[in-house]
């Protein structure tokens, strides 16, 4: 309808708390379509909480957020049609096979269950399509979750530490997916502990400190190891 509604993410002073502890203390953030934004910060700085609010899994205690013009609390169902959320846990059913997990997701989304083998092939899991997820390594579960995510054809990717547990090939697949969504006019918001795997992907990097946005830098600068070291030192130590 207007310029504002065309924003992929428009968050205004989002605040969220758990019990007496404020995890987010007013985060405002705009992401335009075609942008890939990184979100860095120490453990407990509120990165994951922010993604979960945008994904409609959590309601904010204060503030408002819109995804492609849809309010995340009032029009949650419309938001869900656009958002692909990759959580820290894979959220798969251990006793179903890889293919069955994908088929379940496809049926829930009302998509035809054809071509699921191709999606598995894309994330390099074609060989284990009929194996149960219980035996999968964390990286394989991540890849399967990514394949499931792509079934949704999301216009906004919300990725919580997308590179965690992934090997080099997995990182390439992840980056290919992000590029694909970006080229289709979508956007992505990545929560990152270390920026190296996302090299060249990020248009901007924001740092959350104590539930607030502390610093903003453009992608290339933030990726240069020396420049990023002081501000992002706290974020890097995870792996």
């Amino acid at each position: 309808m207007n310029a504002e509604s065309s924003l992929a993410v428009d968050a205004q002073r989002i605040a969220r708390r758990f019990g007496a502890r404020w995890c987010l203390r007013g985060v405002s953030l705009q992401v335009r379509p075609g942008e890939v934004v990184g979100l860095a910060g120490a453990n407990g700085s509120g990165k994951t909480t922010f993604l979960r609010v945008l994904s409609t899994l959590l309601k904010p205690n204060a503030g408002a957020a819109r995804v492609y013009g849809h309010d995340v609390t009032r029009a949650a169902d419309d938001v869900r049609r656009h958002v692909g959320f990759l959580a820290h846990t894979a959220g798969l059913y251990d006793d179903l096979t890889a293919l069955e997990n994908l088929r379940f997701a496809a049926e829930m989304l009302g998509r035809s269950p054809e071509g699921l083998e191709a999606s598995l092939d894309r994330v390099g899991l074609a060989r284990v399509a009929n194996d149960r997820v219980r035996g999968f390594s964390a990286g394989m579960q991540r890849r399967l979750a990514l394949a499931r995510l792509m079934l949704m054809h999301p216009r906004l990717l919300l990725l919580d530490e997308p590179y965690a547990n992934l090997d080099a090939a997995g990182i390439d697949i992840m980056n290919a997916v992000i590029t694909e969504v970006r080229n289709a006019g979508g956007a992505a918001l990545l929560v990152l502990h270390e920026l190296a795997p996302a090299a060249g992907m990020l248009d901007r990097v924001l740092t959350l400190v104590d539930g607030r946005i502390a610093a903003e830098g453009d992608g290339p600068a933030a990726n240069a190891p020396t420049a990023s070291a002081p501000t992002l030192a706290s974020a890097a130590g995870a792996r």
Partner: protein, 228 residues
């Protein structure tokens, strides 16, 4: 078209729950074993006299089913919570009541199977003679199982996400199930003794009313409960 979409989601969720449960056999087997153990203990408590056992058979069978059912209901949401699968489940766009409906179907099958085992064991242990009116008895059991499953699954959706799920579910559920238990136990007892007072019909009507009321109420309220 929307109902067709919803019905497919109901089916696929039920299929998923049943498949998961079938493959992790431990769940069903241990719950069924517990139900049988409870029955045996009732046998000890009620003494070896045949008449006393026969009188108490209906009550023992239903209480065993109830206690075992509580474990099953909590498990049915436990599966979603364990690996964080509830999050993607909640993020699929579309109506949420289908999640409850799918789980109801799966749990109904689960409890139905368990009841079948418990009844067979109960008939043997408590020296019950199967009455001529066994089709009505079967219907009564089905109606009672529906009441048990509907409220059990609904309250488990809440209690399984709290700190005290083991205590909270029975605390919330048992008072709500008083009509189901009274109707199921009294109705079965009447049918087992030949329904001389013609009371079984009243109990069946009560169960039908109860099931209709709470199936619609839970489906209406589920969206609120799972949202938060």
């Amino acid at each position: 078209m929307a109902w067709r979409e919803d019905w497919r989601r109901v089916r696929v969720i039920a299929w998923k729950d049943i498949t998961t449960e079938r493959r992790s056999k431990a769940g069903f087997n241990s719950v069924a074993a517990l139900a049988v153990t409870i029955l045996v203990l009732f046998g000890f408590a009620l003494g070896p006299e045949a008449q006393a056992l026969r009188d108490a058979a209906a009550g023992a069978v239903w209480l065993a089913a109830l206690f075992a059912g509580v474990l099953a209901f909590n498990r049915s949401f436990q599966v979603e919570l364990e690996s964080g699968a509830i999050e993607p489940l909640l993020l699929y766009p579309g109506s949420r009541w289908t999640i409850l409906a799918g789980k109801l179907l799966a749990n109904a099958l689960f409890v139905g199977l368990m009841l079948a085992i418990v009844v067979i064991v109960g008939v043997t242990l408590f020296q019950v003679t199967i009455p001529k009116a066994w089709p009505s008895l079967l219907g009564l059991f089905a109606l009672g199982a529906v009441g048990l499953v509907v409220l059990g699954t609904f309250y488990a959706a809440m209690s399984s996400r709290t700190r005290a799920r083991e205590v909270l579910l029975p605390l919330l559920l048992f008072p709500m199930l008083v009509p189901v238990l009274l109707a199921a136990i009294s109705g079965s007892k009447a049918l087992l003794t030949g329904d001389l007072m013609h009371e079984a019909g009243a109990w069946i009507r009560l169960l039908v009313a109860y099931d209709i009321v709470f199936v619609s109420a839970t489906l209406l309220a589920f969206e609120h409960v799972i949202e938060a």
